[in-house]
Amino acid sequence: MAQKDQQQLGKTLWDIADQLRGAMNADSFRDYMLSFIFLRYLSDNYEAAAQKELGSDYPKLNNDDKRTPLSVWYEANEGDIEEFEKQMRRKVHYIIQPAYLWSNIAELARIQSEDLLVTLENGFRYIENESFESTFQGLFSEINLNSDKLGKTSKDRNKQLCNIITKIAEGIAKFSKETDVLGDAYEYLIGQFAAGSGQKAGEFYTPQQLSTILSRIVSLDSQEPKTGVKGKFDKILDFACGSGSLLLNVRKRIKDNGGSVGKIYGQEKNITTYNLARMNMLLHGMKDAEFDIFHGDTLENHWPLLNEMNPSKKMEFDAIVANPPFSLRWEPNDVLAEDFRFNSYGLAPKSAADFAFLLHGFHYLAKEGTMAIILPHGVLFRGGAEEKIRTKLLKDNNIDTVIGLPSNLFYSTGIPVCILVLKKCKKQDDVLFINASEHYKPGKRQNTLEEDHIKQIVETYQFRPEQVDRYARRVSMSEIEQNGYNLNISRYVSTAVSEEKIDIKAVNEKIIEIEKKAAEATAIHNQFLKELGLPPI
């Protein structure tokens, strides 16, 4: 599928959003829009599979017949429905009643049917509870079709929904129904909404370029990165997964390079974002058994799956990625101090949960796994509790690579961030520092990393050279110890151009020469003054 198409679809959708949102704030509009795209995706996918399944039995309707072919088939073959649905569950892992298919919803919208709102509501409930083997409870919980934002009376709301859905239906009709197109358009929209509403909505959005770097790093073989992408990943975790794009990115990276991925796991605290993530997974053609997204607090470790007390059942992940909220205020307490994730390191300070997130993830990292996490630079050099945690990680030889990135890469903050790569077991006992802070494409509001910049970072990590001038260096543990376990990148890799060497002897000779000339000039000058009868200088 041409990338141009994806971009165009994304843009078409964004234009619709721009036209329609008017009365609504960007956040709520985003949720409606994304849900509809999700429904359209599920429907198209389902209809295509049904057509294949039924073959020549799939009804062919006249152009002016606006019913869905599947509803016609359901009416004519009542006795076969059960068998058909069973078959569909096996093939595409879900079923959708004909009335709830996007094509029917869009048709109701087109004719401004008064039944639209009720049908849509029932459809959402149906998808949450019955479509899939596992339920997706609350998937649309944030979509309030009876919200005042849509209109004062239910009639007004119905009308407004007709309007929105018609626009979306028209806008996306001409685009291909291929999986990735809609999935990517969905992510494009999330990105656009994040950029548009800045700080608040930008929180959960990891810029694509950073997502790419993390994905490429963790997909490489942990022990021998230079051998390339590892073949088999059982479990991958993002413990602050947002809309899930980072997880999808890692999975895609591995699959595109011939590897296999068992299951991906994500945890997200914000309910809306959690639902976005679940939809995002399905939109990218994932079967419901291939992912597990949990809604809950990571620092409090709400996920029962990760709280297994039996060591033999402990969850371990081959790859862990995360872009947790930066320097989040949290509430460390005595109970947390005893928590198995933190007790041998100490608690991160109240003002910044950065290390708490890091330790959470690290606890679940498999011996042969790689973890890459985006954090603010402060974790590299701050004193106090953070210094203790950092020192222990270094002494245990768990910090593999420190990558410094340029500032202004995020929508939500201008601060420069770094990527830490951690491993439970690593071959070398040095730490690789990459100072990529000056390698970027400057933009008016945002800086961006281009393919070359990304490639340079990943390849430096992959091949681990001793030294790259003003860019990277492998630093021995003894040097880090001498620096008091301070990892501030500029202590080890300076980007400053070293000053030209000065040949003092040559300079000296030059000065002597100049002084000689000056003395001669003064003598001549004084000669003139003397002839004029004036005092010399």
Binding site: H377, G378, L380, F381, G414
Partner: protein, 352 residues
């Protein structure tokens, strides 16, 4: 007494909330230094608390960028032992603290190239798109610095190692009558969050700030939690010797000062918070006359509708939501204010 003796007295006081009104040029800043030295000497030379004083303000230096025709004006932050806590401060946190003052400008924190050195400077601008640096007024600058410190106070890595006290020496300059309520609000907020764990000492030369805080802590709606834990003092300089007296003993001197402040305000500009001072003055006179209620004084000075007027005074000095209103006194309130003040003077003829 010298500063050291006073510092020791404050250190030993039972109350956790200490409010000191200091007449001008008594040496408040020296007192905060003495307090620092004394507490350090009790703790093997290590800091036990954190401070906001003239030295804090001195860390912020305005840069006019004369060399480049003022194109890069900014507020420089000098490197100090506090710089290592800068990385805990986010722009967002600072914006939230600043929001009580409803600033007209936006700002950007410029980090040192070496990130360990913290924030190098702050650039102010009006328009987000182009971010053209602007100069802000001295008053705005002061408030920004104060908010910067309030944000820093929330950094527990700093305050947890030095967690015995906050010593705040006058966050407002006299230029800043407009924001006096907000500043009191910000201090009150700080007190609310911290008074159970640490001693909070506030010194001010601003009678308005002092009165509002005193009122909130001793008499306001929420004062129940603080009343017993609050100790107000007056700091004076007599024959080169500092005197620290509890407010009760110093009522007379204090209220003459109140009258003087109010008189000046009437001649120049009246702000809403002056009602707090007027009420305090009336209460002081009442207690001098041996009665508890200010309505008695209103009767004495022959104000009509005593009940109505005393309710108005209470309402105007107890308002909590000043944010949405002008800080200037409304014209109708102004005439009532002046009338009462003149009647006090007609009756008692205070010399000040």
């Amino acid at each position: 007494m010298n500063e050291l003796a006073i510092a020791q007295q404050l250190f030993e006081s039972q109350e956790n909330l200490i409010l000191i009104y200091a007449f001008n040029a008594t040496g408040k800043t020296r007192l905060s230094v003495a307090y620092k030295d004394f507490t350090k000497s009790q703790n093997n030379g290590k800091h036990t608390g954190v401070y906001y004083n003239a030295f804090s303000e001195d860390l912020f230096v305005w840069e006019n960028d004369e060399e480049n025709n003022n194109s890069n004006v900014c507020l420089n932050i000098l490197y100090s032992s506090l710089s290592k806590y800068h990385s805990f401060i986010s722009k967002h946190d600072l914006e939230e603290v600043l929001s009580i003052y409803n600033p007209k400008y936006k700002f950007r924190l410029n980090l040192h190239e070496n990130l360990e050195l913290g924030i190098e400077s702050v650039t102010f601008y009006l328009d987000e798109e182009n971010q053209i640096p602007i100069k802000i007024s001295r008053g705005e600058e002061r408030l920004f610095v104060w908010c910067f410190f309030l944000t820093l106070f929330a950094v527990d890595e700093w305050a947890s190692n030095q967690d015995k006290h906050f010593f705040i020496d006058d966050p407002v300059s006299s230029l800043d009558e407009h924001n006096i309520f907000f500043t009191a609000e910000s201090i009150f907020d700080l007190i609310e969050k911290n008074f159970l764990d640490k001693k909070i000492i506030i010194t001010t030369h601003h009678i308005g700030l002092f009165s509002i805080l005193f009122d909130k802590l001793k008499k306001g709606e929420k004062s129940g939690r603080y009343k017993e834990d609050t100790k107000p003092f007056i700091l004076t300089l007599q024959d080169r010797s500092l005197e620290l007296n509890s407010l009760k003993n110093e009522v007379f001197l204090f209220h003459l000062h109140l009258i003087k402040t109010l008189d000046t305000a009437i001649r120049t500009e009246l702000f809403a918070f002056h009602f707090v001072l007027l009420r305090q003055l009336l209460e002081n006179i009442a207690s001098f006359l041996g009665v508890g209620r200010l309505s008695y004084v209103l009767e004495q000075i022959a104000v009509e509708n005593v009940r109505e007027v005393s309710e108005t005074i209470n309402a105007l000095s107890h308002k909590n939501v000043y944010r949405l209103q002008s800080n200037k006194m409304a014209p109708a309130d102004e005439s009532l204010f002046i009338e009462i003040f003149q009647k006090i003077q007609n009756k008692y003829n205070f010399k000040y």
